[in-house]
Subunit: 335 residues, 2 copies
């Protein structure tokens, strides 16, 4: 991304092993993330960024100290580099690893090849070479599924719980899928778009709420004996969505927030009197990858359906435009 709104596909030198813990992978597929729109729209600075942080592919080369990942492995990686051995990783917060590094910006996986640092701690090999129809779902695990899953886990979705999901983008839809898998009793998708409502129902939503803001909160309370939801996933990142999530959660309940929330200011006193748990941030996708890959491999979940537009890499700019104009939920890029 040369500058705001200016994405180009250009020739670059092939990546090489730099550190002995690196791997170089040849991408099988990659995609465009909702968060890629932040620099595209000028919310984040954009000055010759290497774009892309979601990826699946085949390992072509590994450094001397890489132990668990082998050349020829099909791998899925997290959008944050992690060693998966430090104290923070062992506690399950690989996105805050002492060696954490965002793939977005300086590495970039909207590319034919990429160098992945900390290969053992970042990549997970699939049980074998995947069938082509599994590729979109495995790719989704790299961020959008892992992030929605973390949102649902952070919101403590589970048996007996009513879970509300604010946001019907790809991450929100994946949070619906996760809440269902985690055994939630009732899943309320907050969505105004018929096509996304349908997808939300496909993934397990039991109720749809179209209202937003205070009306949305009132509707959630109405559906929960006036108490609010046990668990709310915030998957947008705006002020309204954040306050909607806080307001829709019952006292003692849990908000899991995974929307990148630039410009959001949370009034401390509102959070205080809500008396809720508030947890989120960049998802520690690496924590969930082995489990998610297995669920996909066993065809128990089908997250790949969030991709509603597939383009060859050299038409990436069209993909950005389609997502920016909300013509696509999520765009896959192939080779």
């Amino acid at each position: 991304m040369h500058s705001t709104g200016d994405v180009r596909v250009e020739e670059r030198d092939d990546p090489k092993i730099i550190e002995s813990t690196d791997a170089v992978i040849r991408l099988t597929a990659t995609c465009i993330c909702g968060s890629d729109l932040w620099p595209y729209r000028g919310v984040e600075p954009a000055d010759h960024l290497l774009m892309g942080h979601e990826y699946v592919g085949v390992v072509e080369e590994v450094g001397a100290d890489v132990k668990t990942i082998k050349v020829g492995d099909f791998v899925v990686g997290s959008f944050v580099i992690s060693d998966n051995t430090c104290e923070i990783c062992r506690a399950g917060y690989q996105s805050k690893c002492v060696h954490a590094e965002f793939v977005h910006g300086g590495i970039g996986t909207q590319a034919e090849r990429a160098r992945i640092p900390q290969a053992d701690g970042t990549l997970v090999a699939t049980p074998g070479q995947p069938e082509p129809e599994l590729i979109p779902s495995l790719l989704a695990a790299s961020d959008v599924l892992g992030t929605g899953w973390f949102g649902a886990v952070a919101a403590e979705a589970g048996p007996g719980k009513t879970v509300a999901v604010v946001g019907d983008g790809a991450v929100g839809l994946m949070a619906v899928l996760a809440a269902k898998q985690l055994g939630a009793e009732r899943i309320i998708a907050m969505s105004r778009h018929a096509d996304r409502q349908e997808l939300a129902r496909f993934y397990g939503a039991t109720d749809i709420v179209t209202e937003r803001g205070d009306e949305g909160i009132a509707k959630i309370k109405e559906l929960t004996n006036g108490l609010g939801a046990h668990s709310v996933v915030e998957a947008v990142g705006t002020q309204q969505a954040t306050m909607q999530a806080i307001g829709a959660t019952r006292g003692g309940g849990h908000v899991g927030y995974v929307g990148v929330n630039y410009d959001v200011k949370i009034p401390g006193i509102d959070l205080f009197f809500a008396g809720i748990h508030f947890h989120g941030g960049p998802a520690p996708v690496r924590r969930f990858l082995p489990e998610l890959i297995q669920l996909i491999w066993d065809r128990k979940i089908d997250p790949g359906k969030v991709f509603d537009l597939t383009l060859p890499l050299d038409r990436a700019a069209e993909g950005y435009q389609a997502m920016d104009e909300r013509r696509a939920v999520k765009v896959m890029l192939t080779f």
Copy 2:
């Protein structure tokens, strides 16, 4: 409190049973809370408020439907009325009970007698009539101990954990006591006052950090291998203290916040990239009362030492002044 800064002790009619679930208690002792300073200083409106929400005393009368509390019982109550039977109470969030009502404002326990609604759900009887030296500690359980305890529980203080406490007021000191009781390995009190540092050490602090803001954060990181504390209790309620708590917590760690935080605006993106758990609010003291009363009864904890000034009720205004001018940590009022 007639208006900001104007507290008077005046004759009022004796309280009577109104609802069949009420009790009327004769106060043995009461006290002034840090949060009573909010209306006193004009941060909260003050227009003929009935002050006081911390209380211990003897039950004089009960309504027809009160089952567990009897006339003559010595009782400790929470600063929030709760039925202790609704779904929210059963989940441990009695301060968000469907019948929740703040004792402050409309009830007021800086008084000789008080009507306590939802007596069964709000009051806990002690095992017998307490020795006089236990009164301050039992009184502390009503809010300041219960609140500090909740802060430590919300921050997930426990074995193997490093706990930092922001704020050396009575609640902060009680959070130190709680962290110690909950088995924390290391307890860092952030305090600049020699007398409060001493009390913090008495209650179990292993380290004292005098720096604040970014320097305070740097110091906590220095003490924790650069990672930050596992658990941080925010017991002040200012912008600086809130950001200090967020910054001092490691990725995946827990902030328990119990400072009433008017005017605090939390930048969402800072909380997002911190990747921490953030939980707090008005403490569900009722959840902890049975355990806290027993610890006090067995003389395992001595929270009563936070009271460093005792005055008769008719000199309450002096007590407010002493706390406002920071000449006293916490003022007990007796009869």
